[in-house]
């Protein structure tokens, strides 16, 4: 059943990366059927009509698959509901009179662009340093030419579910990006197509990750925050592959 509730919002406002930010308080009446982002949209409409600056917040697909909309809601990445992105969060998770604190994702390598929008391009830089496979273009080979074991395909798919939203870094007390990087690595290392560049890729992506982010202490907060429930097992997988990449004689990589 839908009802109309009133929530007290405490939203982080910051004009630009250089300026210091502050919390601004708002009160918003909203039906519980509305999504979280719709609630912000309505707030912004009100602000606009009053001639005030609307709250900057990122969103794109609004169906939980693009990873654009992440914010910290009451200290939790993507809000209180498990395995849910901010855009898929609905106001029925809150009750009348609740105070909702909305902050951007925090890490030194996620600088705030404006209000709740952060620059997550270090993730792009991690991908750019190795998160791809190299294939010759031209005549495409038959899709079924390379058999993949069902378990490996499942695992690659689980890892590929990562939408790169940055919730893992935001939730991590160390601001470590292990869960993101390991998911991207496991996605390709599980499949035959990812094998030729596997060791170089692991070295490069971990190297880039460590230029930007902190060090993992195995708290497990990232997995809890992750809207796609990426498993901690991938982090162990990455640690193992990284050491193999460093130690292995690649001239003998045909020998397992």
């Amino acid at each position: 059943m839908s009802e109309v509730i009133t929530v007290n919002l405490k939203i982080w406002r910051q004009e630009s990366p250089e300026k210091s930010g502050y919390f601004e308080e708002y009160t918003q009446k909203i039906t519980t059927e509305a999504s979280f982002l719709e609630m912000i949209d309505l707030l912004n409409e009100d602000l606009n009509s009053q001639g005030l600056e609307p709250v900057a917040i990122e969103s794109d697909c609004r169906e939980g698959i693009c990873g654009t909309c992440g914010v910290m809601i009451n200290g939790q990445a993507h809000g209180p509901r498990k395995a849910t992105t901010t855009c898929q969060l609905h106001m029925r998770e809150f009750s009348d009179g609740d105070e909702i604190v909305i902050e951007p994702f925090r890490a030194i390598s996620f600088p705030v662009i404006r209000d709740l929008v952060v620059d997550r391009s270090p993730f792009d830089q991690i991908i750019e340093s190795g998160g791809y496979i190299s294939v010759n273009t031209g005549a495409a080979s038959d899709a079924n030419l390379t058999p993949v074991p069902k378990e490996a395909a499942d695992q690659a798919f689980d890892a590929a579910a990562c939408i790169g939203c940055g919730a893992c870094v935001a939730a991590c007390p160390n601001s470590a990006a292990q869960l993101f990087t390991s998911a991207k690595l496991a996605h390709m290392a599980s499949l035959p197509q990812g094998q030729p560049e596997r060791w170089k890729r692991t070295e490069m992506m971990v190297g880039t990750m460590e230029e930007f982010f902190g060090s993992c202490t195995n708290h497990g907060e990232c997995h809890e925050a992750c809207p796609k429930e990426i498993n901690l097992d991938f982090i162990a997988f990455m640690n193992r592959d990284y050491m193999k990449a460093k130690v292995k004689n690649r001239a003998l990589s045909g020998q397992r």
Binding site: W12, Q76, F110, D119, S175, G214, H223, L232, I235, K246
Partner: protein, 282 residues
Amino acid sequence: MTQTTSERYRVKPIRDRRREWPFPLNLYQTAVGRKWVMAVTGIGLLGFVLIHMIGNLHVYEGPAKMHEYAESLRNLGSGILPRSLILWLLRLGLMVMFGLHLHSAITLKEMSRKSSLNASFQGGEKKYAGGREYIAASYASRTMRWTGPIIALFLIYHLADLTWGWWLGSEFVPGDPYHNLYSSLSRIPVAIFYVIANMALAWHIFHGAWSMFQSLGINNPKYNHLRKGFAASFAGLILLGNLSFPIMTQANLIDEEERLCQVSIGNTDEILACLTKQLEDH
């Protein structure tokens, strides 16, 4: 694969990739490699803690047996090598492992702190104004950097107390660990300190003995469920054994009244000779 061209990006790396050291030292330059070092030294230190605890159970066999155990440590490999050489090599190994464990922990923590600088910090932890509630992180994992220093300080105290005899003064008898242990732990503040320090140690092990599997990449869904159980039982075993010493001393189960070789009989050599004779008579 080419190096990232970061010119297109506004967010710059907060640390540079330094020139690579020769293998295997280059492993220590990376955070993932450093976590390996932490896990491997952690395993070594776990082994020490376990053997130390089991060895000390000899105290329940009385002063003579405890003396024999201490002597046998010094006599390790004595038929071939000079006396105490193996013991000193083991001590050296422990010092190296402890140093590396500490150094990697401190530098990795610093790396994480620098990566979270624009978040507010309370009690050394990244905090959000929305009141961050931990969901997965256990109390043990969040307090590693508090239990660690407690253990390090305790270690120094423990060495000064029972190896160097700083606080026991004339009561300290080198080579008679039973007497030294009794004299030290029969003082209530010391006993309390030992209890606290060993609880910190068990907390530390509770997270560390699980976390090391992740750091080493030892992960298999077939046995993953056993890892937490292993860590809990290891920590519990160490806690049980180590707590028994201060508690049993306070409960007078370790005491000196029944002792055949009373410490008052004379100087150190006479006490040790008496203990050796008691062993031979036995």
